[in-house]
């Protein structure tokens, strides 16, 4: 079995060297990696295999999930539509509790109430846990209008954001991923912070203001960003389960339970269009 062992050693060393070079180049380059198109190509070529395997294995994954969890039966799309309606109502309720002046409040509420356009998609693959990354592949891609940066939601709340697309698949970075960080508002007080993934369904919240009032049971919603990418505003993210004591640190931290279980995402909606297309008018300073 070890004939020509010198040749084998050279082969091993060369392949390891190639892999290491690929690794360092890709790791350093990050988002502008030259291998980005390779991933899109791989996704395009192997998407049929992945989707077929997932489809064929649905009885198994479905049965195991049903054994392990309560609920989650068929007609998920219909359920998502219903919950979408409930989600919009919840969004309005949360926003109306915010402590802002009536003029700005009217502008914001009108601009963000409802009317997210959502493309439904199904999870067809998950990243391996040993790899630490919490990502899933879904079966909608650029041909369906999906682009990088779009928010991904479920009936329960925010699931993640799209980080890359192929023609018929997209890779979604879940909020549970250690690399994911979401800007959030704490429900009652409107205080601003960031939520980072911890690998499971517990997230870490960091408040910018160390004296910001955060309590167990507070619900966090997304703060939102320009154009709704990477995150649209007002989507529930999680619930605070434990506030860490302020031990002389500069920021206050808390543990948050995500509303979306990262191991159970199946049917998701990708927000392709937010309502606000009009330019928000600037207000002169001092306007109340």
């Amino acid at each position: 079995m070890i004939r020509d062992s010198k040749g084998n050693r050279i082969l091993l060393a060369s392949l390891l060297a190639i892999a290491f070079v690929l690794l360092t180049v890709d790791a350093r380059a990050g988002d502008s990696s030259p291998f980005g198109p390779l991933r899109g190509l791989g996704s395009a070529i192997f998407a049929p295999v992945q989707r077929t395997v997932e489809f064929l294995a649905r009885p198994i994954t479905g049965t195991v999930s049903a054994l392990g969890r309560v609920g989650e039966h068929e007609a998920e799309i219909e359920r998502l539509r219903e919950e979408n309606g409930e989600l919009r109502t919840k969004l309005s309720e949360i926003q109306s509790e915010r402590d802002v002046s009536t003029q700005l409040s009217g502008l914001l509420t009108a601009a963000t109430r409802g009317s997210y356009r959502i493309v439904p998609a199904r999870v067809i693959a998950m990243g391996p846990e040993q790899g630490f990354s919490r990502t899933v592949a879904v079966d909608s891609g650029s041909r369906d209008g999906i682009h990088r940066g779009m928010s991904v939601v479920t009936g329960a709340g925010l699931a993640g954001r799209v980080v890359s697309t192929g023609p018929h698949t997209a890779t979604v970075l879940l909020i549970a991923d250690p690399v994911s960080s979401v800007g959030v508002r704490v429900g009652d007080s409107g205080e601003v912070g960031t939520v980072t993934g911890g690998g499971g369904d517990l997230l870490r919240l960091q408040m910018f203001d160390p004296h910001a009032p955060v309590a167990k049971g507070d619900v966090l919603v997304t703060f939102g960003s320009l154009g709704g990418r990477p995150y649209v505003a007002g989507v529930p993210v999680g619930e605070v389960v434990q506030v860490n004591p302020l031990r002389g640190g500069l920021t206050r931290t808390a543990m948050v339970r995500a509303l979306v279980d990262p191991t159970a995402v199946d049917v998701v909606g990708i927000v392709v269009e937010t309502a606000r297309t009009e330019v928000r008018p600037t207000l002169p300073a001092g306007t109340g």
Binding site: M1, I2, S5, N8, L11, L12, L15, L16, I18, A19, F20, V21, L22, L23, T24, D26, A27, S33, F35, L38, R39, G42, S43, F46, V49, Q50, V53, E54, A57, I60, T61, V64, S65, R69, V123, I124, A125, M126, G127, P128, E129, Q130, G131, F132, S133, T135, V136, A137, V163, S164, G166, A170, T171, V172, L173, D177, P178, V179, G199, T263
Partner: protein
């Protein structure tokens, strides 16, 4: 040396195994995920030697790095599985006369692979690498590998077997 037919069979098997790993196995609940790709790579290495082990490890790893939903740096799994393939083949050769050698090699690979992955990640500055979390998941990985081994290793052996009267150890 393998015939083209057998090489194709192995290539198709690797693609299917990676697809099953990402679309089925990772979605099952429970601590850790059974690493079918690792078991198949080790089985190939044990059955056919260093060259096959190294090349199939590299290819399978590269597939894992490229296919959605991979979001980590390209080459990470390629490096780890390539090295594991080589080590497994050498170990299997050295332990030829030891009973249950393939399972021993498989068990060691199941413990070694996640640790290598985490160390390599730390080396290149992957912000997600967590050695502590890896160590916690090792016992489960060992159990999964030892459960899959007795089924997968003989199947792979049958796939790549050369002569009908070759005794598969």
């Amino acid at each position: 040396m393998m015939t083209y037919g057998r090489i194709t069979a192995v290539a198709v098997t690797l693609v299917l195994v990676v697809a099953v790993q990402l679309s089925v196995l990772t979605r099952l609940p429970g601590p850790g995920t059974p690493d079918l790709v690792l078991v198949v790579v080790v089985a190939l290495a044990v059955a056919k030697g260093v060259r096959v082990g190294v090349i199939s490890g590299f290819s399978a790893g590269l597939l894992l790095d490229v296919l959605p939903p991979a979001d980590h740096a390209l080459g990470h799994w390629a490096f780890v599985l390539c090295l594991i393939g080589g080590i497994a083949a050498v170990a299997a050769h050295e332990l030829q006369d030891v009973p249950f050698a393939p399972l021993l090699v498989l068990g060691s690979a199941a413990l070694l692979a996640p640790v290598l992955f985490a160390l390599l990640g730390a080396l290149v500055g992957d912000p997600r690498s967590q050695l502590v979390a890896t160590l916690k998941v090792l016992p489960a990985e060992l159990v999964y590998a030892l459960l899959l081994g007795p089924f997968v290793v003989p199947l792979v052996g049958r796939l790549v077997r050369e002569r009908r009267n070759e005794v598969f150890r």
